[in-house]
Symmetry: C3
Subunit: 346 residues, 3 copies
C-alpha cells in the first residue's frame, strides 16, 4: 500500500516508550515494524508466538522485541519485555502514519448544526453532517460523509471513520473507534401482530456505549425499544456484527466478525464470541464465556468455559451420508437402547 512517510524512532526512544530493556545500540533509527522473516535492518520485528521462534536465528531485523528468555537466541539488537505482544501493539500505534497527522478542522463542505457543541481540536471531514443538539468532545474526528444524528453525544478522542452513521440520541464514550459503514442506533426489530399484519413498535430507547469501544466495518447496533442497548467499556466488535435492541454487553468482551445477538440478551464481562456465532434472544451469558465459531446458543450459560455447536466440514460425499443419518438419530438411539435391553435380558 502507499502511505505517508511514517515516523522514525531510535531504539533508545522505543525502549523508553515500552519500558523495555535495550540490549544493543540505542542510537539506531527504526523506520517501521515487520515480521521476523521480512524485516530489514531499519525495521523492528517481534517474537510473541513461539511458532515463529524458528525465524529468530535467521532474522535480518534491525532489532527484535522479545521475552528475556529468548534473548540468548537473538542474533541482533533486542528489546526485552515481559509481554512482547503488548509491546508490538504499542509499537504498531507509534508507527501508524495516520495517527500522527494534524487535525484538519471543520471542512467547509461539512454541515454542522448551529446548536451543536463542538470541543477543542475537533476534525469534521468533507460532506459530514452534524445534526441539531449534538455534542462532540475534544479531539473527536468525524470522517468524510459521516452523519451524527440529533442530540447524540460522542466522547473525547473518539474517531469515526468515513461514512459512519450515528443515529439520533446515541451516547458514545471516550476514545471510541467506529469503522466505515457501521450504524449505531438504527431501530430495533419490534412489531405487534394484529389483524393479520404487523404494527410497528417505535424504538424509544437509545444506544449507550462505554469508553474504548471499537466497532468494525458495516456492523450495526440497534437502539432499544424502551430502555437502551448498552455496550460496556473496552468492548471490541469486529465487522459485519449485528447487535439487536436491548442487548447488554459487559466490559472487555470481544465479538468476532458476523456475530449476531438477538434482542434483550445479556453478555457478561470478558466474554469472547467467535466468528459467526449466534445468540438467541432473552438469554443471560455469564462472565468469562467463550463460544467457538458459528455456534448457535439458544439457552443461557451460567458457567464460564468454552462452548460450541455444529459439526466440522468433511468431504461432501461422506457428509451427505452422515447428514441423512442425523435425521434418524433419535431412531438410532432408541434401537440401540432396545438391543441393549435384549442383551441384558438374554
Amino acid at each position: 500500500m502507499t502511505q505517508p512517510a511514517p515516523p522514525t524512532f531510535t531504539l533508545a526512544a522505543l525502549a523508553e516508550q515500552l519500558g523495555a530493556k535495550l540490549v544493543g545500540d540505542g542510537t539506531r533509527r527504526m523506520t517501521g515494524l515487520a515480521t521476523l522473516r521480512d524485516a530489514g535492518p531499519d525495521q523492528i520485528a517481534f517474537l510473541a508466538n513461539l511458532s515463529y521462534l524458528k525465524d529468530l536465528t535467521s532474522t535480518r531485523a534491525g532489532a527484535v522485541l522479545l521475552h528475556p528468555e529468548h534473548a540468548g537466541e537473538c542474533p541482533v539488537d533486542h528489546l526485552e519485555l515481559d509481554n512482547p505482544y503488548l509491546g508490538f501493539a504499542q509499537l504498531s500505534r507509534l508507527f501508524d502514519p495516520f495517527l500522527a497527522r494534524p487535525t484538519g478542522g471543520i471542512h467547509p463542505s461539512a454541515v454542522v448544526a448551529e446548536d451543536a457543541r463542538v470541543g477543542e481540536r475537533v476534525e469534521i471531514g468533507p460532506q459530514a453532517v452534524i445534526e441539531s443538539g449534538v455534542e462532540l468532545g475534544d479531539e473527536v474526528v468525524v470522517g468524510a460523509g459521516c452523519v451524527v444524528g440529533s442530540r447524540s453525544r460522542i466522547g473525547a478522542g473518539s474517531r469515526l471513520h468515513p461514512n459512519v452513521t450515528v443515529c439520533h440520541g446515541v451516547v458514545i464514550g471516550e476514545r471510541a473507534i467506529l469503522h466505515s459503514g457501521c450504524v449505531i442506533g438504527g431501530d430495533g426489530f419490534g412489531f405487534a401482530h394484529d389483524g393479520g399484519r404487523w404494527h410497528k413498535i417505535a424504538q424509544l430507547g437509545g444506544v449507550v456505549m462505554g469508553d474504548d469501544v471499537e466497532v468494525g466495518s458495516c456492523s450495526s447496533i440497534d437502539r432499544g425499544a424502551l430502555d437502551d442497548t448498552v455496550i460496556g467499556n473496552d468492548v471490541k466488535i469486529d465487522s459485519q456484527v449485528q447487535i439487536a435492541h436491548n442487548v447488554r454487553i459487559g466490559d472487555h468482551s470481544a465479538l468476532a466478525g458476523c456475530v449476531g445477538i438477538a434482542g434483550s440478551t445479556q453478555v457478561g464481562r470478558n466474554c469472547m464470541l467467535g466468528g459467526g456465532v449466534g445468540l438467541s434472544g432473552h438469554l443471560t451469558i455469564c462472565d468469562g464465556v467463550q463460544v467457538t465459531g458459528m455456534s448457535l446458543v439458544t439457552n443461557s450459560i451460567h458457567e464460564p468455559g468454552i462452548y460450541s455447536s455444529g459439526t466440522g466440514a468433511m468431504q461432501n460425499a461422506q457428509w451427505r451420508k452422515n447428514a441423512v443419518r442425523f435425521k434418524q438419530l433419535d431412531d438410532i438411539a432408541r434401537r440401540l437402547a432396545r438391543l441393549e435391553k435384549r442383551d441384558q435380558e438374554g
Copy 2:
C-alpha cells in the same frame, strides 16, 4: 439517551386513541412509556406478556395498559384492551419524539436533479443526492447522506434514514422505513464461466417493494437479473439481511437479523425466518412457514409449520467428542443395523 421533549397526553386522550376502556382519572397527563417495573407516576406501562404479571401488583406506573382479565389485579388506573401489545405499539408511536417533528424541507446542501419529481411536504436532508428522473411521493423523508439513484420511485410517507442507498430503477411503495446503511438494488451475483474466468451478467431487473416494508440497518436487497426482485406488502426485514436477485417475499413475512436468501427463491406469505437462517437458491417456501435461528434450508418446503436444523451449543470438551462421532454416523447406523439383524437371526 438524550431526546427532544416528548409529547404528553391525558389518559382520556390515550383511551380514545386506542379505543380502550379507561378505568381511572382521564385528566392525568402521561409523559411517556415504561415497563411495569420502571414506570413512574407520569408514565404508562403495559402488561402484554404474562411473565411480567408478577410486576403488576407493585407497579408505580401512572396507568397500565392491560387485558380486562387482569384489571382486578391492577393497583393503579388502567386502560383495558383486547390486545395490549398492539396498544403498546400504538402508544410507542404516539410517544416517539421523532415522529412529531416538522419537515425540514430540502436542505440547501442536498443535490436534487432538475427533472426529479418531488411531492408535497417532502424533507431531503443535508448532503443527500436525488438523481435524474426520481419520483418522491408526498411526505417522503430522505435522510442526510442518502442517495436515490436515477429513475427510482419512492411512495408517499416513506422514510429513508441517513446514509441509505437506493440504486437506479428501484420502486418502493408507501410508508416504507429504510434504515441507515441499507442498500436497495445493488447488482445480483451473476456470472457466466468461460475460458477459466468469470463474465459478468448485467443485472437488468430492478427491485419492487410493496407498501409498509421496513428494512434494517446494513441490509442489502439485490436487483434482479432479467426480472425484478419482489418484496411484498408489510414485509419486515431486520438488520444485516441479504436478499439475492430475483427472490420474491410474500406479504406479511418477517426476516430476523443476518438472514441470507440465495437467488430466485420464493418465500410465501406470513413466513417468519429466525436470525441467521439461510435459504438456498431456487427454492419455494410455502405460506406460513417458520424457520428457527441459524437453520439452513436446502429443499423447498410445501407444508406450513416450524423447521429447524443444526445442533445446540454444549461445553466444548463434550462437543468435540460428539462432533467427531458425527463423522462416523453413517458407519454407526450400519453397524447398528448389522447387530439388529444378528440379534433377530440369533
Copy 3:
C-alpha cells in the same frame, strides 16, 4: 422497474458481436433480453439450462440464443453459439442501459483534493470525497457519496457505486466493480490482551486487489496488520461478505453472500464458497475447493473437491429429538461398540 430507453440492435449486429451463427432475418431489431417464456417478438431469449428446454417450442421471442444441437427444435430465428450462457452474459451487457450513458465529469459538489491525480474521462458523483494523494485511472466512475481515502489508487475503468468507502492506502486494480455500502480497508480486528483489557494493534497493512474484482453491497474487506490483505484477479465477492485482515484470495475464486473468512487464511485459485460459509483463521485452502452453503471449515484443505458441514432442515418436532441425541452421540457410539464386542465374544 423504470429505466432509460435501452439501446437496440439488429440480429446481424448481435451475431457479429457474439461470433454466433445467425439463422434468420439479420435486419430484425431487438430491443431487449427476456426469458423464453416471457420474451416478445422484439426481444431475444436464450437457452442455457436444459430445464428450460420445454419453453423453447412455445416461445414467442424474436430470436433465441442457443447451442447448435437445439437449433432444430427452435420455432423462431436463432443465434447458435457453443456457450449460450456466455452469450447471454455478453448480450446482457450490450442491453444494459446504464453502461452506455456518457460520463458526467466531476460534479461541483464533490470534494477532490488538490493533489489527487485524476485520469481521463473520469466521473465523480455528487457529494463524493477524494482525499489527498489519491490516484484515479482513466474512465473511473466514483458514485455519489463515495469516499476514497488518502493515497489510495483505483485502476482504469473501475466503477464505485454510490456510498462506497475505500479507506486510506488501498490499491484497487482495473475494471473493479464495487457496490454500494461496501468498505475496503477498514481496520482488521487485532488486539493484545494485558492487564485485563485490550490494547489495539494499529493495522499498518493495506488491501491490494487485482483486476476485474467485484465486491457486493455492504461487504467489508479489512486491511492487513503488517502485510496487506490480498484479493487476486477476477475474484467475485457477493453481498454481506466479511474478509478479515491478511486473508489472501486466489485468482478466479467466487464467494457467495454472507461468507466470513477469519484472519490470515489463504484461499486458493478457482475456489467457490457457498452462501454463509465460514472459514477459521490461519487456514490454507488449496486451489479448486468448493464449500457448500453455511459450512464451517476449521482445518486446512489440501485436496480439491466439495466440502460440507452441518445438517439439513427438518420439521422442528423431529429435529428437537435428533438434536438432543446429538449431545449423546459419543455415548451412543461407545455403547454400540460395547454391544458389538459382547456379540463377538458371545
